[in-house]
C-alpha cells in the first residue's frame, strides 16, 4: 500500500517561489451522493439529495441560511455523525465504494476527505509546525522528524503560507492573523494527504483581502484535489467554482437540492425559477 510519503513524493514540481510540488497521480477523488438524508435526532435537516461531484474541480454548495448546506457537506466525510443525534441515510460513493458501508472506518474516510471549518481552528497549545504535523503525528505511531519537516514545508507551501511563517514555525498557531490561521488549517488538512477537501464557509470570518488569498489558493489546489465549498456568498461561488449546487428549505424546513450544474449555467441561465430568484437577490 502506498504511504502518504510515497503519494506526496510522486509529484511534479510547479514553477513557484517555494517550489510547490503538486500531486499528479491517479487519485480520482470522485464522490457520488445517492439519496442522502440527514437528521438531528428526529429533525430532518437534509432530504434526499443525489449528485455527482467532479474530480479535480471546485463544487460550490449555495443557498440561504439554514438550508442544510453545512449539514450536507459534513455528511461527505462522516462528520455529521459526530454531532449530537446526527444520523444519515442513503450513500456516498468515494471512488465507487460507499463510505457509509458497515466495514468502513470513519477515521480512514476523514483522512481521505479533509475538512476546513468556518472559524479558523488552529490548536492553540501547538506551534505552527506542530499544527501542520498534528495530523501525521496523531494518526500514526511514529514519524521520522525529517519526513515531518518535509511534509510541513510542502503543506505550508501548498497553502501559500510558507513565505509568511518560515521564520517563525515555533510560534503559536494562535499568533497568526485570521486569514493566516485559516490557511494554516488548510495546510494542516493537506498534510495528511487527502484526496478531497471540504471547506465549510472558509471565508465568512475573513476580510476581503484574506478571502481573495483563500480563493486563489483554492484555484491552485483544484489542479490536484477535488474541492467542495459551502458558501453563502454568491459572488464567491461565481468566482471560484466550476460546478454549483443550489439548496433550499422545503415546506418541512429540510434542505433539498433545487438545481445542480455548471456554475456558468446556474448563474447565467438557471433552469429553476427559485434558483433565478435567489441568484438575482430576490430573497435569501
Amino acid at each position: 500500500m502506498a504511504t502518504v510519503f510515497d503519494r506526496v513524493r510522486n509529484t511534479t514540481k510547479q514553477d513557484s517561489s517555494c517550489e510547490v510540488p503538486i500531486r499528479m497521480e491517479a487519485n480520482k477523488g470522485i464522490l457520488v451522493v445517492q439519496n442522502l438524508s440527514a437528521w438531528y435526532g428526529k429533525t430532518l435537516a437534509v432530504k434526499d439529495i443525489s449528485l455527482s461531484i467532479q474530480s479535480r474541480a471546485i463544487t460550490a454548495i449555495i443557498g440561504p441560511s439554514g438550508c442544510g448546506k453545512s449539514t450536507f457537506i459534513r455528511c461527505l466525510n462522516r462528520m455529521h455523525e459526530v454531532s449530537h443525534g446526527g444520523r444519515v441515510s442513503g450513500s456516498v460513493l468515494l471512488d465507487g465504494k460507499d463510505i457509509y458501508a458497515r466495514d468502513v472506518d470513519p477515521v480512514i474516510i476523514r483522512q481521505r476527505i479533509g475538512m476546513v471549518f468556518q472559524k479558523p481552528t488552529p490548536f492553540p497549545t501547538m506551534s505552527i509546525f506542530d499544527n501542520v504535523a498534528a495530523g501525521l503525528r496523531l494518526t500514526r505511531l511514529w514519524t521520522r522528524r525529517s519526513d515531518l519537516e518535509e511534509v510541513v514545508e510542502r503543506s505550508l507551501c501548498q497553502a501559500a503560507l510558507w513565505d509568511e511563517v518560515k521564520d517563525k514555525l515555533n510560534l503559536s498557531g494562535a499568533s497568526l492573523s485570521g486569514g493566516q490561521q485559516q490557511r494554516l488549517c488548510i495546510a494542516r488538512a493537506l498534510a495528511v494527504a487527502p484526496e478531497i477537501i471540504l471547506l465549510d464557509e472558509p471565508c465568512s470570518a475573513l476580510d476581503p483581502a484574506a478571502t481573495l488569498k483563500i480563493e486563489d489558493l483554492m484555484r491552485s489546489l483544484a489542479q490536484a484535489y477535488t474541492i467542495v465549498i459551502v458558501t453563502h456568498n454568491m459572488q464567491q461561488a461565481a468566482r471560484v467554482s466550476d460546478m454549483a449546487a443550489f439548496l433550499l428549505m422545503d415546506q418541512d424546513r429540510a434542505g433539498m437540492l433545487v438545481e445542480y450544474g455548471k456554475t456558468s449555467q446556474i448563474f447565467a441561465n438557471p433552469r429553476d425559477k427559485r434558483t433565478e430568484d435567489y441568484i438575482t437577490g430576490r430573497f435569501g
Binding site: 477515521v107 481552528t121 490548536f123 496523531l138 494518526t139 488549517c185 488538512a189
Partner: protein, 280 residues
Amino acid sequence: MSGTSHLRRKWFNRLMLVLSGCGAGLAIMILGVILGYILVHGISYINLDFLTHAAKPVGEAGGGMRNEIIGSLILIGLASVLAIPVGLMAGIFLSDFASPKIAATVRFAADILAGVPSIVVGIFAYAILVRPMHSYSAVSAGIALGIIMVPIIARTAEESLRLVPNSMREAALALGITRWRAVLGVIVPGAITGIVTGVMLSVARIAGETAPLLFTALGSNFGFQGLTKPIGALPLQIYHYALSPYADWQHQAWAAAFLLLLLVLGISIVVRWVSGRRHA
C-alpha cells in the same frame, strides 16, 4: 414620594455595602489570626534538628519530625500515584465519552463521594484493608487519601476539559484522528493548566487530613519500614503531641502545624501561578 424612595434605596445600598464589607473583613481576619497565631507559636521551634532528627522518647530534650515529614510525603505520593490516573480518566470519560445520562449519574456519584466525611473514608479503609491485612499500613492510608482525591481531580479535570471548545474536537476528528488520540493529543494539552490546578488542590486537601490516618497509618515511632507497616505523618504527630502533657512536645506540635500550613500555602501559591499562566 420619589424623593423618599430614592433616599431609602440609597441607605439600603449603603447598609448592604457595609454588611458585605464586614463579612469579607471577618473572613480575611480569621485567616490572618490563624496564620499569625501558628506563625508566632511555631516558627521559633523550627530548626535544623526539627527537620532532620527523629522523635526522642519522653523526657529527652530535642528530637524532630524527620520521620513524620518523610511519612507525609510518602503518603501524599502514594495517594497521588493511585488517584491521579483514576481521577483524570474519570474526568476524560465525563467530558468526552459518557452519554449525558451516564455522565449525570457519574457526576452525581463523584459529588457525593467528595462530600463523604474523611473519617468515614478512614473507617472504610480500616474495614476493607487494615482488618484483612491484620496491620495498620502506609498502603491503606495512601488508598484512603487517594479515595478523597479522586472526585476532586475528576470534577476539576472534567470542568477544564469542557472549557476546550468543541471546534477543537471536530478539527481533530476531521483530520482522521481517533477520538482517544484527539483527546490525549489535543484536548488534554488544551486543558492541562486546569487539570494541574485540580491535582494540586486535591493534594492540598489531603496533606492535612488526620481522621482517615488514625484508622490506617496509625503513626509510628520509627522511620519508613515498608508499605505494609504503620507509618508516621505530620497531622497524626500534631494530634498526638498537641494532646500530650509535655511542653516540649506541644512546641513541636506548633512547629509541625506551621510546617503543614507552609506546605498547603506553598501549593496554593503554585496553583495560582499555574492557573494565572493560562491567561498570560
